[in-house]
Symmetry: none
């Protein structure tokens, strides 16, 4: 069946999302997520101006062929903009394929390999007491795995801390619509001090283990800010606290940096939310330098793209830990859940619930209960988009923060 | 839907085949090929006595889960008997899944990536003149790739030479119902001399290129008989004749042997028809020691199993060359064709047509034309089994040949 | 002398055993063990249907030739079914050879290199107190090496814990004749949680060293359930407790995984009970990633097969630790003891006494005293089979357990 | 001084170009090239929608800081769209810096290291005779290095062959404004056959050396189409013809593939025109798998970005061979020439003259004479943009071609 329409829908129900909508000649509709937080319009242009004309009149069933055609046909391949655009097309085509088969997508990918998708959530607090309250809240809801981040004494704003009061819902959105002196949107500038951080973090975990015992899975994100030897030190110092993983210890593009970390610590390592293709993981996986693959379906070429990464990881015993904050849309999250249900090397799924506002635009079939997510059994991805509501929330420019050291040097955020 | 019956069907319409037939509660039927040439009954026992009880009452849709359950649940994992049994179950489950989706299987695996499946055929002759006639015959039929094997002066019976007269159909079946002095079936014993072979083969290719020009793809199979340094020499000496591949140069279980071959020659290398899991390929693929993966779907754990191998190979630019003589049944061949249609790293497909007798028992939807195969568009694998006709051709013991050197030493066949 | 009969005897005196019995023209009889726990009938078929016809009328004295003939002549070589069948034939031929020489087999293998075979036994308990009682019992009996396994708080049934009461004989048989909803045999499904296990185990060893001092050799089996980095952590955390070995830390087919474990810990490592040929050990031994070879004679191609492995290991200073629970028959155990007596790189021998019921069918000449085993000096292997009693205990289907994580994912058992 | 305006100018004087124009408070203007052939508008959006607001009111003199701010501040870093956008900003800032210093840019980069920039040009022909005429033409003009490409018998349209008649100017633009059945722009689909190519190419070089002797430097581009073993073969077969380099032998994202090529041939290797950061080169350079870095300034992060690559390459004795067809604008070409003048590890510069139409919009100070280019001594980059003329040639959608094998499989173009 041929593709007759390719629409790019940009909406901001609380935060920005870019969605591709593909319509076939017989009226089937598939959705794909192309949201690239803070760089949304470049992806939208890539889709609308460069890919959409290539898709119209093309046979929608040939998913691998279309993936390769877009990947190799771009000539200037790889990178977040290109791969998010391809991802969106790929998700939409799998959505259509599964709807045509009258099956939830996970059935086409090999069927359920587990009863549900274990999720980890984000707990944060400016100090340990606030963090403790947040962790307790999640435990009450049945979650068994929590990513914990706290403020660092002497540092101001920091990655991953929701400004919410105790007991309020975690609702961290780093990309803020701040403005510069001209009234234009611009990134917040945060500051960073690795030594202050390294000297403070172990105490937090010591407190957590004291208060929550050994069974709770604790995750932590260093957000690309350490040098390899600093990361090695942190991993080693956190060994007594049995981390589920230490994430993004060093800047991701430098795969070989993990050799040094890995030689010093048995703390499990995760990375890859900024990765786009299997080549970003080649050394990391083939040398077993990491334990979890953190790409999102949205930024790694869609179902077809991330499956190539996860199949490669499986050979080396490396597991999935798919990226899942609200910077992927409910469509991207649904795609993750269908994959999570079926691959053998599933590890854990990141979960940060979308706002009610977002979920009124994107109506999802997936559910959450007792610390588990389930994609649901609606044919396809199980997400519908209310285009009228979407149109009512137009794009609002927003940037992810940036980071500087005390002396003003740009640092990885 | 649950599985209600698991039948193991052994039949010999010209040659032996073992087929698993899985029936679901709502009456869908899937077929899988478990044929292990010369060791058929051990696989049939594995299926009937050990796996069938595990499958009844199980949810047929959970293919990956069942694969892992059978693979890891065997404890004593790997090997041809185990993996052929698992392969048959896996193929049958994919057959059912695609029938339920009302799609040919290749649609579920990602859709068509090409218009058809390029095949290579087997040409042979005791001398060059006979070989030439055979090659000419295939060219007339439109085939563009031919595996060529000839006799070697001074050696008697040899692998891969069909005893047919010039112009007759190639109908090579190495597993023959020979008998020993007690009237029991036993393997033919052939003899081997690597130096005679090495000194003779280049001349054959010189003749072939002279008579057929440069465009015809020529393949050759050394059938595990050379040492690494002999294989290196052969690869180097054949470089002027532009082989599509040199196959099974050395015994397959010794992956590292290919390092030596590879360091000496740019002749493309293929191996793996006796391999069963991705671990048999780990060094070969990750060090790029081969160019083509030669496993069959039947002996490498089915669609699920061989996809793990081929996905791994794709990362390293290694292509498929799926095993396809008549020792896989039409069910196993159909599974190969559905995969061939969809994976990006398709290389070529081996094709040796089944006899009319075989095809009267196994009714296939796949077609051959102009050197290409096509799996057809019947939902599922597209193969039906006539159980009555199958029952009329009972199992007939037959063995693959064995090999000895002139002094009587056992050699790889 | 030619072989005139090849019988395959399946019996269940407490548990299933498959035995090959080879009879020569002059009436000598040899026995070989082909027991593959939970997959017995596939091996029996392999022997009866595919190998027996090849052996009749063949010269029984040509053991190496027959081994190569069966190994290379199978074409589809390797794997547990194939190698257990070949192993049984090989053991029976060595039994005959030694009987013909009127010598215990160890004499033909090079003669005694030690006064006896140091054994380790299995102690277990749901908690430390029960384990302690079990260990004390073995100490009293004179054993100097004990494999210790305990339950893990929060987990139910677990590998290696005999359900016996304190003071009773350890009699652990994981393959249980459970039944599914159709009344058919099926595997027990156990559950697993690596983090719970890792957090609990070190305390057990701390207790053991406190209570039993430093001289007792302590072994532990992780039974293929950890990831490499988890195994690395465990090895590191157990270093203060001086393990004799940590066994099967990760799934065995992934040899390269041991590189990561090995880089983090000096705890000695053992693996291989599921291995069948030297190729399963090639990376492990040549890179010195393990310290002990754990294959059984029964699953690794017999005396001839395992000697190839152990000779290779000797070059790299890797020692033997032959597999020896009751899932190898007394025939297989006798074969191990004869080898243990003679090879230089002997390490230790696993020992789990067969039941009285088993020993009434298999009458053995080997003895146990003061923590040592001795094969005895009866010509041959020193095991006789009472065929009448054997026939009185017919095959009873039983499966090894399988494992799932809490979310339902299949895990290695 | 602060930046007051950031304009993005899209124009199509014969072909599409994207240019960033940065204006400072005191009226200095800098230009940067952001042209990404076939994906222009996505880069334009990236610049206009996402980067421009970050630049206004920022201090234009802090080039390294701005580069890091844009690179690390994008969070989703790397890839052609991101890095072309950053490149354009970086070039414009260097243009301003040099204008402020009243110096040609090469003076600020360390001053001239050579009298001029040796260039290689593109000669092509459907057959050898046409190629020969083209090469002769360049020799007459004084060029000493020529990239030669020809048609391949049996293949139609092929990369790198200008359709010009003998004697006409080479004017190859692969991105053509073709249209699909809906009248929309779409890529041309070419076809490819590696064996036909490999069997034909050596003869061309044999002819070239016969007709042009040994002093002329010959370059050749395989344009990502070979497998590593095919590339190894080609490199080996071309050794007698003393290539200056063999370019883009295999798909660029797979750095390790070059290990295999490198082990078989001493033909110098070049790659990288599709690379964007130093990480794309890390294995290639640190293992000395290539001899020339082929990135453009435009696609590799500008002056600041490509200098990081070239400084790394210098350590390993790898030289520059900066990309320079007309798909970089005269601004991007000028940036290359300023770098070429000053770095020590200069190798050669690709040169394909822009059309008169292009050069009427972009007025350049660089010159060409006797096979050498010179950036000229105008302060800054030495390129002015006629905005009125630019506006008169609006963007015209065009795509680079794609490639398929004979069976329809997508292949690298």
């Amino acid at each position: 069946m041929t593709i007759t329409r390719v629409d790019v829908i940009i909406t901001c129900p609380g935060r920005n999302f870019v969605t591709v909508k593909i319509t076939t000649k017989d009226g089937l509709v598939g959705y794909g997520d192309a949201t690239l937080n803070g760089r949304e319009l470049a992806v939208a242009s890539y889709l609308r101006d460069h890919l959409a004309p290539l898709l119209r009149e093309r046979d929608e069933s040939r998913i691998e062929d279309i993936w390769q055609y877009l990947y190799r046909g771009s000539y200037w391949r790889r990178g977040p903009v290109t791969m998010a655009a391809i991802a969106a097309v790929d998700m939409a085509l799998w959505d259509i394929k599964a709807k045509r088969a009258q099956m939830p997508l996970y059935e086409l990918l090999g069927g359920a390999s587990r009863k549900g998708v274990r999720a980890y959530v984000h707990a944060s607090g400016w100090d340990y007491e606030a963090l403790k309250v947040a962790v307790e809240g999640y435990r009450t809801q049945g979650f068994t795995a929590v990513r914990v981040q706290t403020g660092v004494p002497g540092l101001g704003q920091i990655y991953g801390i929701a400004p919410a009061k105790a007991g309020e819902k975690y609702n961290y959105e780093p990309a803020k619509p701040a403005v510069n002196s001209l009234g234009e949107p611009c990134p917040v500038e945060e500051e960073w001090d690795s030594r202050a951080y390294l000297n403070f973090v172990p105490e937090i975990f010591d407190n957590l283990r004291r208060d929550f015992g050994s069974s709770l899975a604790l995750l932590h994100d260093a957000h690309h800010r350490l040098t390899p030897i600093e990361a090695a030190r942190l991993g080693k110092e956190l060994e007594p606290y049995d981390l589920f993983w230490l994430e993004d210890a060093t800047p991701g593009e430098d795969q070989e940096a993990f050799r040094l970390i890995r030689s010093h610590t048995t703390t499990p390592l995760a990375t890859g939310e900024v990765f786009n293709t299997v080549f970003d993981y080649r050394t990391l996986i083939s040398e077993r330098l990491i334990d979890y693959v953190r790409s999102s379906v949205t930024h790694a070429g869609g179902i077809t793209g991330i499956k190539k990464i996860l199949s490669f990881a499986e050979i080396y015993g490396v597991k999935s830990g798919i990226h899942g904050p609200t910077d992927v849309s409910p469509v991207g999250m649904a795609a993750a859940l269908h994959l999570d249900m079926t691959i053998h090397n599933f590890g854990i799924q990141e979960f940060m619930p979308h706002s009610e506002e977002t979920l009124s635009v994107f109506r999802t079939s997936y559910t959450v209960a007792d610390g588990y997510l389930h994609p649901g059994d609606t044919p396809g991805l199980g997400v519908d988009l209310d285009e009228e509501l979407a149109a009512a929330s137009p794009y609002t420019p927003a940037y992810l923060p940036t980071n500087r050291l005390e002396d003003g040097t740009v640092h990885d955020w």
